[in-house]
């Protein structure tokens, strides 16, 4: 884990996230969101959680980002009307950031370096998922099914 890689990836991720939050054009914002998530996946790789990074790219770029751009397309009449920008929100977010950073920097126990670990293989994750986490896994399956049905019912054409 090198410092230079961390700094580059962190700046890249935060810049893309900032673009996603502030760009005027919705489509550009959605694409920057995708870029920010690629950066986040790179951070996960840096932390040794390859599987989660790949899953993040797979789910967010392959599904969520495409869903977002598709929704933008389906609600297209509105694009370009997004003029309102609430500066109070920025102030609140800035306050939150300052508070969080202050408390993080004050906490001494956080300034540690990473210990050496056994590489987290996909096999180990799979074993953990199938033994200790089997009930949460089933619950997530149920939740995803419910979300699928719910989303379908929400967007179904209403019969008149």
């Amino acid at each position: 884990m090198s410092s230079a890689a961390f700094v580059i990836i962190a700046i890249f991720t935060l810049a893309a996230a900032l673009a996603a939050a502030t760009l005027r054009k919705l489509m550009h914002a959605a694409l920057s969101f995708a870029v920010a998530l690629v950066g986040l996946a790179a951070l996960f790789f840096l932390l040794g959680a390859e599987f989660v990074g790949l899953a993040l790219v797979f789910i967010y770029i392959g599904a969520v980002a495409v869903l977002i751009v598709f929704t933008i397309l389906l609600t297209r009449r509105d694009v370009g009307k997004d003029r309102g920008f609430n500066w109070a929100g920025v102030l609140i977010a800035l306050a939150v950031f300052c508070g969080l950073t202050w408390s993080i920097l004050k906490t001494q126990s956080l300034s540690i370096v990473a210990p050496h670990i056994r590489a987290l293989t996909v096999k180990r994750i799979g074993e953990a998922l199938m033994t200790g986490y089997v009930w949460p896994l089933q619950c997530v399956g149920l939740l995803l099914t419910a979300a699928l049905i719910g989303a379908l019912i929400l967007v179904m054409e209403e019969k008149r």
Binding site: L31, F51, L54, V57, V69
Partner: protein, 395 residues
């Protein structure tokens, strides 16, 4: 002797790297990666040039024509002529287009297509990038293709582009599910997401005769066919070229692209096709293993590329044979037939595993597949649903 020929590329790389002996570790690592990338690009861009001309020639033969035969011997230099033509064409960007996204779309689609090639084992010890979740990497990166297609369609600010992109996304989304689920049985049986492990699990021969490729088990055979059809859709090839159907919506998402950007799209499509075929060969056709024990003296990479070219030939053959499908038929086919069959493959693989991976398992998994297949064909009422359309008003 045969072993040294088999490992000639690996040894050549080691020899090149030995020049750097003594330099810090990261330099050697970087050089190794660069050599891999260079080789990958060299091989697959050559293959792309070759296949693009061969496809035209084979298609021409199927239609009783000659095909390109003017440039060079047998028209083999046609790709070079095409490349020059594409390079010197004017690069037109529509005035109302979103310039940045319009530029980024072909870059992204080509980058994604080339990245997916990186995890496929091309021969013994010849995987460019060995990572633990190789298969997941393939699909994670490959899923960005949809975003790139969408970017192309949206940025062009053209209704044909937009229509093409929407069709492409609808179709890619629907067929990505069977594509991924048909990979599951192979991953399940091997117990690893690493392409290398999947290939080495298919080594050996049953009765010393039939290779232990997954395609020779009932679940593997069905999964292979489903995977191949889904791959056909993912690479937007005939008969599933609805997103860019020339006679309907000009060229779909590529309508507003010209010159080299268009060539990039074209190249990405072919490289995506190579990647999917390569993965199909890796997962189901035993990767670089020889089909007969006697022929194991032939280097492993030769076998891999033979299998790859065999699959590509089938792609071209299908393109020359079948007409374009209707989009509603395609969607029905994906959700009502492909997806249930893909899940059946998973179950059949489990049955095969628990019945002892022998002849008994073979028969039981065949029974599972046959039952589901006949149930589906009765339930879906295929004879009525897939019948020729009756035109009530056009006559």
């Amino acid at each position: 002797m045969s072993k040294s020929i088999d490992q000639v590329f690996v040894n050549a790389k080691q020899w090149l790297l030995s020049w750097l002996a003594g330099s810090p570790g990261w330099v050697i690592q970087l050089a190794s990666i660069l050599i891999n990338i260079f080789m990958l690009l060299a091989v697959f861009l050559t293959l792309f040039a070759l296949i693009s001309v061969l496809e035209r020639k084979i298609l021409a033969r199927m239609q009783n024509r000659y095909g390109p035969n003017r440039v060079g011997p047998f028209g083999l230099f046609q790709p070079i002529a095409d490349g020059i033509k594409m390079l010197i064409k004017e690069d037109i960007v529509p005035a109302r287009a979103d310039k940045i996204v319009h530029f980024l779309a072909p870059v992204l689609i080509a980058a994604v297509a080339i990245l997916t090639l990186g995890v496929i084992p091309y021969g013994r010890n010849m995987t460019p990038f060995t990572i633990d979740g190789g298969i997941l990497f393939f699909f994670a990166v490959g899923s960005a293709t949809e975003l790139a297609v969408f970017m192309a369609g949206w940025a062009s600010n053209n209704k044909f582009s937009m229509l093409g992109a929407m069709r492409a996304i609808a179709q890619m989304f629907s067929y990505e599910l069977p594509l991924i689920i048909t990979v599951l049985p192979a991953v399940m049986v091997v117990g690893s997401l690493m392409p290398d492990r999947i290939v080495s699990a298919q080594a050996g021969y049953t009765f010393g005769l039939v290779p232990r490729w997954f395609v020779f088990t009932p679940w593997g055979g069905v999964a292979f066919i489903l995977f191949f059809v889904s791959g056909l859709v993912e690479s937007n090839r005939t008969p599933f070229d609805v997103p860019e159907g020339e006679s309907e919506i000009v060229a779909g998402h590529m309508t507003e692209y010209s010159g080299f950007k268009y060539a990039t799209f074209f190249m990405a499509e072919y490289i995506g096709m190579f990647a999917v075929s390569g993965l199909a060969a890796t997962l189901f056709l035993g990767g670089w293993h020889a089909p007969v024990r006697v022929l194991e003296i032939v280097p492993s990479y030769v076998w891999f590329f033979l299998k790859l070219s065999g699959l590509l030939l089938v792609y071209i053959w299908i393109r020359g044979t079948l007409p374009r499908t209707r989009i509603d038929q395609m969607m029905n086919f994906a959700w009502k037939f492909m997806l249930p069959m893909a899940f059946t493959c998973v179950i059949a693989a489990a049955v095969w595993h628990y019945a002892g991976r022998g002849l008994r398992g073979w028969l039981w998994s065949l029974v599972v597949i046959v039952i589901v297949y006949s149930a589906l064909s009765i339930l879906l009422d295929t004879r009525r649903k897939f019948a020729p359309r009756v035109y009530r008003f056009a006559e």
